[in-house]
């Protein structure tokens, strides 16, 4: 087990920039996720930790050991690749044993360790299978076992679930989390799927076009996103442009359209946002925070017509046209009738659910 530190790491590919100024400290035993859309630099950062790229600037250390320029085979990291990268000419057993053979371990010990790890990932009895005789989920577990059997200091996972179907993805998610907790291993996980990131991670680093946007716990990232990008990338949200019209004590009054004015709280603002009268701000309103209002008037109540109604079973989603804007809302299904498109609806946006995202 080891902590990982990236000290102002930059990576450029020729003239194209890859990653800019990543500065993080990952605690020993932490489950840390790099999250972002494709091309955001998350895999590049992971590959620098694995040693497949060397940073253009900055240092990387594992614990107190500087590994910045150490070749990948000297780092003792276990990596699971997106397409698993299993050796097609070897059996399951040989694949898992590869890293131990490289380490010149005794045959008997290898056998014992491989069998133990195969039990752990529930592959016992599959040792002699060829790789192409396995299902996608099984291949995934071989890749995981191969990475874990060498008892790495750090486990690196590069979108390991993206090649699995939805159901299997969820199962494997629990499986990976279970193994990580059981072994207490420092884990760095790369994904573009925010649901995966939210459900598994201790902390998340959100990246966009090579730049770190925010680092924080899932709760922080969801409830206090630092900017519009993070707000809209993590979960669903309504992003409305508005102008600040007044600030009284903790209350912030904003005008969205001539017809819609809302009141928010000074507490609910990203540190990057400047709240002053006349400033343009972006509001982030989570759909699940919106309530149906009994009356048509009152503070933070907006009226509109249902444009789209979606019944998903567990909940009902509405897209409501409010003047020129659209407001998405989500209600837990409590058995009441679903409104039809065209029907009028009044919605209440609680004061504390308006977030000034900047």
């Amino acid at each position: 087990m080891s902590s990982v530190t990236l000290d102002h790491v930059h990576k450029r590919f020729g003239k194209a920039k890859g990653v800019e100024d990543v500065h993080i400290h990952i605690e020993s035993g932490e489950f840390f996720t790099f999250l972002g859309p494709s091309g955001c630099g998350k895999t590049t950062t992971l590959r620098m930790i694995a040693g497949f790229y060397y940073p253009t600037e900055g240092r990387i250390s594992f614990g107190s050991q500087d590994v910045t320029m150490l070749p990948p085979n000297k780092r003792n990291t276990g990596m699971v690749f997106q397409n698993y990268a299993l050796f097609p000419h070897m059996t399951v057993f040989e694949n898992i044993a590869f890293g131990l053979q490289v380490r010149k371990m005794a045959k008997a010990d290898i056998k014992e360790r491989v069998e133990r790890i195969m039990k752990l990932v529930r592959l016992d009895g599959y040792g002699e299978r060829r790789i192409d005789q396995l299902s996608g989920g099984q291949q995934q577990r071989v890749a995981l076992a191969r990475a874990l059997v060498i008892e790495p200091q750090i486990l690196l996972l590069d979108e390991p679930l993206s090649n699995l179907d939805a159901k299997l993805r969820e199962e494997t998610r629990y499986e990976i989390k279970r193994l990580q907790m059981e072994l207490g291993i420092t884990t760095i996980y790369v994904t573009h799927d925010q649901a995966e990131a939210m459900s598994m991670s201790d902390r998340i680093m959100v990246m966009n076009s090579g730049v770190v946007q925010q680092i924080g716990t899932p709760h922080e990232i969801y409830h206090r996103p630092v900017n519009r990008f993070v707000a809209s990338f993590i979960g669903e949200t309504n992003l409305w442009e508005a102008t600040v019209t007044g600030i009284e004590g903790q209350n912030v009054y904003v005008q969205v359209t001539p017809d819609i004015s809302l009141c928010g709280s000074l507490q609910q603002a990203s540190p990057q946002v400047r709240l002053a009268v006349g400033e343009k701000v972006a509001l982030s309103i989570r759909p699940e925070a919106v309530r149906e209002s009994a009356g048509a008037d009152g503070e933070n109540v907006v009226r509109g017509t249902v444009a789209l109604a979606e019944f998903t079973g567990a909940c009902v989603n509405y897209v409501t046209s409010v003047g020129p804007h659209q407001l998405r809302s989500m209600f837990i299904n409590e058995g009441s009738a679903v409104k039809q498109p065209g029907e009028a609806i009044s919605l209440h946006i609680p004061k504390n659910s308006i977030y000034f995202a900047g």
């Binding site: 694995a50 990948p72 085979n73 000297k74 990268a85 490289v102 192409d132 060498i150 690196l156």
Partner: protein
């Protein structure tokens, strides 16, 4: 001999070194050096020989080449182009028609015909030409049979002159069109045609607007290839006595002792060939239609009408006979007693002695042994170079990558005659690249020529397999603690093994069949098989010559079969 230049083993011991940026150049510089020494330097020396005459620099050979007073050279250039254009047209017609019939229609004999369609590939150039003269030449079996049959004074027809060359070219080279067209037709996504049809296109429109445009890249690529090979063709003009082609002019200038003119002719032919190589590369880069959808179903139209079936059976039968005859005639003549076949339709006396001699008579065995030995040495060099070059091209990033790619393909574009002339120009004096030895007249010059001529084969097959292999597989090995050398040995090499072996076998048989360069540089002690065949032919020992030829064909067929198996159903990418 080139083994010590092979990269990979030297830096392996120092692992930290393999990850430094300079390591790439340590790996690729020997590759550049080899190409420089054995391809570029000989080309340059030939050019120097063509302009540096009796101590002064002069362009007089080039002036003479293009002068309108002595038109022999221009005529030769014109004839070469003329033959090449005719060859492209007739190969194209035959190859594409066959591809369509075999890929799109179901008729009796289709399967056997589609296997036999590749037979011409198993014929080394010299053997192909010889069998055609035996069959259709002036004293060939068919013309004579017709003469006897109808009691004519003269043979009614015979294969000779330029048309002889074109017919032989068609037979031996239509396979390039056939294979690329077949692959393109097979790769045509049926859903494209279905989409066109559903949008209201008729059968003709589908052909004109969808199928033909999709095939164009394949057809243009094969046209350029056939043109290039026809320009380089030497054996067919030699046997049919067409002196006025570029390759024959080079050969004649050399035998007449006009060495600097031969050098000038070589240089001009090189320029034409290289221009075509670059044209081909550019074209292939510019146009490439990949098949979009995955599972492509074959749908063949079955010929149902009764007359249609009869016609197709007859045509298939004729096709099979034409394809098989060259090999059958060689087998037949290989059993004939040397010197007995003079004016008869078929050889009158038969014996199995030639085959016994092959393995028992020391003098007859000698050329076989020579060829095996020369080819084995050349193949080792080709494999070491090809694997290292393929790995560098596919996996490494370095400056000069495009240059390396062009340089590797260069020897493949150069006609065999030119390769031989270049090597003679470069290594008839001691040089650094030959370790201060004169190579001409020694054993080593022939493997060197084979090496240069067939150097791209292993490179191509290996880089094709490496390209299919996911780079992350190698990274996984590195991540698990394997050094560069360990992961190359245990992961990259085993996974690419099928491709490497296929290329190796192909290179080996190409070396065994090599004639064009050998004829210019062999020595009596190192006479290879194909030159021996040529010599036996000229001393009218047809039986022995054909027995040699049959042996070559058998070896080639076995090797082609094995390599097809290797590349066809290998345990490749499981991911």
């Amino acid at each position: 001999m080139r083994a010590e230049l092979q990269p990979g083993s030297a830096p392996a011991r120092r692992m930290s070194f393999t990850s430094s940026p300079a390591f790439v150049y340590v790996l690729v510089s020997p590759l550049f050096l080899i190409l420089l020494a054995y391809v570029i330097y000989p080309l340059w020396e030939t050019f120097v020989a063509s302009v540096h005459i009796d101590g002064e620099t002069t362009w007089k050979n080039y002036v003479r080449f293009f002068s309108l007073e002595h038109t022999a050279n221009l005529e030769a250039l014109w004839t070469s182009i003329y033959i090449s254009v005719l060859s492209v047209i007739s190969c194209g017609i035959v190859g594409v028609t066959m591809a369509f019939l075999l890929e799109r229609y179901e008729f009796p004999g289709r399967k056997i015909l589609s296997v036999l369609a590749l037979v011409p590939m198993a014929l080394p150039p010299l053997i192909g030409v010889l069998s055609f003269t035996f069959l259709y030449g002036e004293s060939g079996i068919f013309p004579r049979a017709f003469k006897e049959l109808f009691g004519l004074a003269q043979v009614p027809f015979s294969l000779k002159g330029i048309w002889g060359v074109v017919v032989v070219h068609t037979f031996t080279m239509y396979t390039y069109f056939f294979m690329t067209a077949s692959a393109a037709i097979k790769g045509l996504d049926p859903s494209l045609e279905e989409a066109a049809a559903s949008l209201g296109a008729g059968r003709f429109t589908v052909w004109r607007r969808v199928i033909l445009p999709m095939l164009t890249p394949a057809l243009v690529a094969s046209s350029l290839l056939v043109f290039m090979i026809s320009m380089a063709s030497y054996t067919a003009p030699l046997i049919f006595g067409i002196d006025r082609t570029m390759t024959m002019q080079i050969y004649l200038s050399r035998t007449n002792g006009d060495l600097d003119m031969a050098a000038a002719q070589s240089t001009i032919l090189s320029i034409v060939s290289v221009a075509f190589l670059l044209l081909m590369r550019w074209y292939q880069g510019a146009r490439n239609y990949q098949n979009q959808s995955k599972g492509v179903s074959v749908h063949r139209t079955e010929i149902k009408s009764k007359t249609g079936r009869y016609i197709s059976i007859v045509l298939a039968f004729i096709g099979i006979v034409i394809l098989m005859l060259p090999i059958l005639v060689l087998v037949l003549i290989s059993f004939s007693v040397d010197g007995t076949w003079t004016v008869q339709i078929l050889p009158p006396k038969y014996t199995v002695d030639h085959y016994l001699d092959l393995f028992t008579d020391k003098k007859t065995w000698r050329p076989i042994m020579n060829s095996l030995e020369l080819s084995a040495i050349a193949t080792i060099g080709i494999v070491l170079f090809g694997v290292a070059a393929a790995y560098a091209m596919v996996r490494l990033r370095f400056r000069g990558k495009t240059l390396l790619d062009v340089l590797i393909m260069l020897p493949w574009a150069l006609p065999g005659t030119v390769v031989a002339v270049n090597l003679i120009a470069a290594f008839s004096e001691p040089t650094v690249f030959s370790f201060n030895q004169v190579l001409i007249g020694t054993f080593w010059i022939i493997p060197l020529a084979y090496f240069v001529r067939h150097l791209p084969l292993v490179f191509r097959s290996t880089s094709a397999t490496l390209m299919q292999m996911d780079p992350s597989v190698e990274e996984a090995a590195r991540n698990l603690g394997a050094t560069w050398w360990y992961s190359f040995r245990r992961v990259v090499f085993p996974m690419a093994f099928g491709g490497i072996l296929a290329g190796t076998l192909l290179a080996f048989v190409q070396c065994i069949g090599e004639f064009v360069a050998s004829i210019l540089i062999f020595t009596p002690r190192t006479t290879p098989l194909s030159v021996a065949i040529f010599q036996k032919m000229y001393s009218f020992e047809f039986g022995t010559a054909c027995a040699y030829g049959v042996l070559q064909i058998v070896v080639i067929i076995i090797v082609l079969f094995v390599s097809r198996k290797l590349t066809g159903d290998k345990a490749g990418t499981a991911v």
